[in-house]
């Protein structure tokens, strides 16, 4: 059944969407979209290291993204630079270093477009295992830290005062972000992973009145985006990442129409 590349891509994409749904809600709630971008940009460096030392790509990306997150935290403590400047610094410098290293790796043929925008042809059965096992682990850990993470998202001091240990939850969440980028890079590509996190969650925000509903709609939106995106990718011979993101944008626009209608109904 997994012999067909398209089935593999579909199964991989659905696995990714199941995880980006709830994580994306936290990215939107905690205003972490540029943080996600930074981790994703640094993933290129992770990919090049994987090729250089013949490591597993997801593993190498996970290590590099976690490292970048750690460096960011240290820089925040030790400099007076604003957060967005630090994020930009890390994002572009790690992307640049990654590209420079690629220049040196002349003995390997790189599919840069595939790296940046995703390539459904590249998904192997091993990738499926990484996505589904890794994804299940991410969701399990997210469920365990849900309470303190959510409470501190609403109000840090309430969570801390009432004994929920929000700092630990935040640190674990950062690792989960690095992990989702690592497992989804082949599908969506590093320039568009943040879109996969944010757009379905943003769509869900438009049509939900409670956090649980937002998570569920965000997952459904992600799954639909993958299905629509991959089928149109096959049909029009476009890259998988942009097709999925474009599909999620389409759903987002639909959710805006929904708001207008419900306002009309109320009046």
């Amino acid at each position: 059944m997994f012999d067909d590349f398209f089935i593999r891509a579909l199964v991989a994409g659905l696995g990714v969407a199941l995880v980006t749904g709830p994580l994306g809600c936290f990215v939107v709630w905690r205003r972490l979209s540029y943080f996600g971008d930074t981790l994703a940009h640094s993933a290129l460096l992770g990919v090049t290291l994987a090729y250089s030392f013949e490591l597993n790509i997801a593993f190498s990306v996970f290590i590099i993204s976690s490292l970048i997150a750690l460096i960011l935290i240290q820089l925040q403590k030790r400099t007076n630079l604003p957060g967005d400047a630090l994020l930009g610094l890390l994002a572009h410098s790690s992307l640049a270093v990654g590209l420079v290293v690629i220049g040196f790796l002349t003995f390997i043929r790189f599919d840069i477009m595939g790296l940046l925008f995703g390539d459904i042809l590249a998904v192997t059965v091993d990738d499926l295992l990484i996505i589904w096992i890794g994804g299940a682990l991410i969701l399990l850990v997210l469920k365990l830290i849900w309470k303190p993470l959510f409470a501190s998202t609403v109000n840090y001091e309430l969570a801390e005062a009432e004994g929920l240990n929000p700092d630990r939850a935040k640190a674990i969440f950062t690792i989960l972000m690095a992990a989702i980028i690592a497992i989804s890079i082949k599908m969506v590509g590093l320039l568009l992973i943040t879109g996969m996190l944010i757009i379905p969650a943003a769509m869900a925000r438009n049509i939900s009145d409670s956090p649980q509903k937002m998570v569920i709609y965000s997952i459904i939106g992600g799954l639909l985006s993958v299905v629509i995106g991959l089928f149109s990718s096959l049909e029009f011979n476009t890259s998988s990442g942009p097709s999925i993101i474009a599909a999620s944008l389409f759903l987002f626009i639909l959710s805006l129409l929904n708001i207008k209608q419900s306002i009309k109904l109320k009046n």
Binding site: V154, E157, L158, A161, G163, M214
Partner: protein
């Protein structure tokens, strides 16, 4: 030793500095089960900071904090909820504790906002939100309640009712309360112990003791001192039918 079993939180010469400036220094106080300790003092005197030290929100502190309970309910002075969160009152009630629906309803009824249960948190008025905050703090039946100006923005009749509620909670749950308030009238009638802050502990003791204290008078003025003393309730005179005062 029995008094130690009732001890919930104890500050020993505690202080906190931020950007090389002491927000508060040398505070010692203890909150026990069933007792209400009130912090008073002018703006910027370190009341909220002291509460946050007691709660363990500030970690790099001077002195010592000993906290003997993890069942804490907190009503912060300032809280801003983000519009990016779709959060109803009922979701907010579950923020730090998994409560049964009955407990949520009970707490919301006590503070008079049960009708807002399905409303979005962002659509509440200031007073309504304050009542929800208080309901959330008491719903988990905490051992220690820290209330930082819990009735700000609540209408006058509601204010009195809520202070009565706070007193009732302290009796019924036998929980200790660390209260911060500006309203000397309402607070003093129920408080067991007053700590008057002005960057440091300016004086502390029973409401009556504090009212007589000269430093307190200097800080708040003679009038405030009279307000406090009024709660002494020494009935040293009676009013006759024609309004004359007759000394006992």
């Amino acid at each position: 030793m029995s008094s130690n079993n009732n001890l919930l939180v104890k500050l020993n010469n505690a202080g906190y500095q931020h950007n090389d400036k002491w927000l508060v220094k040398g505070v010692s106080l203890r909150v026990e089960k069933g007792k209400i300790v009130t912090l008073i003092g002018p703006n910027g005197s370190g009341k909220s900071t002291t509460a946050k030290i007691a709660l363990g929100i500030y970690k790099k502190i001077d002195g010592e904090v000993e906290k003997y309970t993890n069942k804490v309910g907190y009503v912060p002075q300032k809280i801003s909820i983000d519009w990016t969160l779709p959060l109803r009152v009922r979701d907010f009630m579950l923020l730090t504790e998994n409560l049964k629906d009955e407990s949520i309803n009970e707490a919301l009824s006590l503070t008079g906002v049960i009708h807002l249960k399905d409303k979005n948190l962002g659509n509440l008025s200031g007073g309504e939100f304050q009542r929800v905050l208080l309901a959330r703090a008491i719903s988990k039946k905490p051992e220690l309640l820290v209330l930082d100006e819990p009735v700000q923005g609540v209408d006058f009749t509601g204010e009195i009712a809520l202070y009565e509620l706070i007193k009732k909670i302290s009796d019924e749950l036998n929980c200790g309360i660390l209260l911060i308030s500006h309203d000397l009238h309402t607070v003093m009638s129920a408080t067991d112990h007053v700590v008057c802050l002005n960057g440091h502990v300016c004086c502390s003791g029973s409401p009556i003791d504090v009212a007589k204290n000269n430093e307190y008078k200097a800080l708040f003025g003679e009038q405030a001192s009279q307000i406090l003393s009024r709660y002494e309730h020494k009935h040293d005179h009676v009013h006759t039918n024609d309004g004359e005062i007759k000394k006992n």
